[in-house]
């Protein structure tokens, strides 16, 4: 297997770049990546890691907050890590991107209709309900997850966990 790097620039979001790294599924790989970012002064906006279909490898999706020059360095420095097998930069227009959020919202039964109304257009799921609150989930593009979170805010967010972005290259 040989390494490949594609370094197309992202025209739509100049500061946030989605870097996907295939890495060997070995102890310490995440520490190597995190350490590289910290010692070279790069910022991770979000991070998602999970085994790929081949359990020898994991797929790491990193959203990096940097300009184009720094992105080149990030990519090349990541590529130098022995456990990194290949790297792709995904461009917004030609990638499918999703984030997932779980939120616990203060929402007694008499406000449920209101929340359902406000959530129109968000393809969300209600996972648990109690007399005081409910846990809902939603997945979508990062901006949509932002909007979903803003929609929930007036009700009172008790707890919230967003994942990092995951992404795949679009079909042609």
């Amino acid at each position: 297997m040989s390494k490949t790097v594609s370094t197309e620039q992202n025209p739509q979001t100049p500061d946030l770049h989605t870097v996907v790294a295939h890495v060997e599924n070995k102890a310490g790989v995440l520490a190597r990546i995190a350490g590289l970012f910290s010692r070279r002064g790069f910022n991770i906006a979000s991070l998602a890691v999970a085994p790929s279909d081949d359990d020898r490898f994991s797929r790491v999706t990193i959203v990096v907050d940097c300009d184009a020059g720094a992105l080149e360095q990030v990519t090349k420095q990541l590529f130098k890590l022995i456990n990194v097998v290949d790297i792709t930069i995904l461009v917004s227009g030609s990638a499918v991107e999703r984030e997932f959020v779980l939120a616990c919202v203060a929402c007694p039964p008499d406000r449920r209709d209101e929340l359902t109304f406000d959530a129109t257009g968000f393809d969300h799921l209600v996972i648990e309900e109690s007399s005081e609150s409910m846990i809902v989930s939603f997945s979508g593009r990062a901006e949509r997850v932002d909007e979903f979170e803003e929609m929930l805010r007036p009700f009172g967010i008790i707890d919230i966990q967003r994942t990092g972005k995951v992404a795949l290259k679009s079909l042609d």
């Binding site: 060997e24 102890a27 990194v84 290949d86």
Partner: protein, 577 residues
Amino acid sequence: MKTDGANALLRALEREGVDVVFGMPGGAILPVYDPLLDSSIRHILVRHEQGAGHMAEGYAHATGRPGVCMVTSGPAATNIVTPLADAYMDSIPMIAITGQVGTNAIGTDAFQEADTTGITMAVTKHNYLVQSADQIPQVVHDAFYIATTGRPGPVLIDLPKNIVNPNDPDSIFEDYIPTAHDLPGYKPQLDGDAALITEAAEMMRAAKRPVLYTGGGILKARAAKELLELAELTGIPVVTTLMNRGGFPDRHPLNLGMPGMHGNYTAVTAMQEADLLVALGARFDDRITGKLDEFAPHAAVIHVDIDPAELNKVRRANVGIQGDARHVILGLINATRELGGHDSQADRSEWRQQLSGWQEKYPLVFEQSEPGQRLMPHYVIEELSRITPEDTIVASGVGQHQMLASQFYEFNHPYTWINSGGLGTMGFSIPAAIGAKVGMPDRTVWAVDGDGCFQMTSQEMITAAVEGIAIKVALLNNNYLGMVRQWQELFYDERFSEVEFGPTVPDYKMMAESMGCVGIRVESPEEVGPAIEAANEINDRPVVVEFRTDPRANVYPMVPAGVSNSHIVVDPSQRDQ
């Protein structure tokens, strides 16, 4: 056939051609030291683990083969962090083997436990915490491959005690010899892109004021011969960075010498005025560029490096070529020939005239001391260069003596100059010289050291004496941290803060003799040559020659930190010309 982790490790090292290991035993690594008694591998017992690391570096630099050091866990492992960082900065192929507490004790704050792989992650090309004994042959095989290929660097192998202890069932496994590498993410690229090489050769052909800016990558790629051919074919002058001294002969008329903060006027100014810089295995270090946005303002840049991350890291290249320096230089030679060779090169008579004008006006100079005054360190280096054999290996520490050695010693052969360039590790020279001498026992090896450096690692002179490693040390003793003194003189209004050592202690001659070395003290210029000659003749013991030098001696030229290279400060005697 069954084997155990310790024996498997030694067999794996032997298969990699290891003939010497620098190290010191201790609790966690003890099981490996027992079968070492029966191995063909020589072990050099150091007095401090840092020494083992620098010896491995010196050995690697002098021989081109990876240096190996081996120490125990915890404090021993943390003591080799500095050599690892040094080797990482200067791309030295090196293998560090560290003991570790048993796998069951990892993470429990056990005695002499340190998170060695965690600590060294940022200063190694790669590291391994070996989880089971059967991984040892494969890990060693892969580690040597990683350390020696691509951009070379240090690789650390951390070995928990239970997997190397033959009395522990965890260490027993079915022996095997690895046949391939298990490195799906590692494929160094040697050949440069052919179209880019052609484009580069055309830019070189047409350039009126080009400079070949050659760095440590020339030596790593073993490309000195090819560089000479390219320079002579194109007629383009060469600057040799601190990491490539000796990579192009100093006596060659095309060699302008060392550029950078303490580079000579012509080398610095040639880069500054160039219309084309051809960077070959060099990385635009801040000590080369000075103030970056005013560095070489008129120059287009061709940048050749085996590490793609160096391309566009500091200075954007007009043509960036990823590849091994030797392969790419061979490509450039061919492409230049296809363009018509030497005769097709642009007319550069004006450039040559300008360069030789600068060389005449601003040579490296120093003012010889008056009788009765302390020695000028420059003079000591000049004499050392004049009197030592042609292929002498010189290893230096860090500071004024390092810059003076690089400036005033004439290097005409590759792998004759060993120093700590990137990290600037004081105390490097003595252990590095020992490592070089172990690797090249028939060569004369001189350490050029300062008194500050000497006091950091001089305990390894005992190692040298006991092991019969007859290095020679030129100790330039000015009783000061000289380079820091120079900065305080120039940039802190001569307010000397914590730079003066006690004027009477130690007595270096006695100190040398107490460590089993010959000690010689030199105080006046006429003694310098005879003392060096005497030291050259002593081959049964190490020698320390203490030269009492003038603390007021400074290193010039100098480009102050953060200042444009155009404002290079020359020797006081050359100012206002």
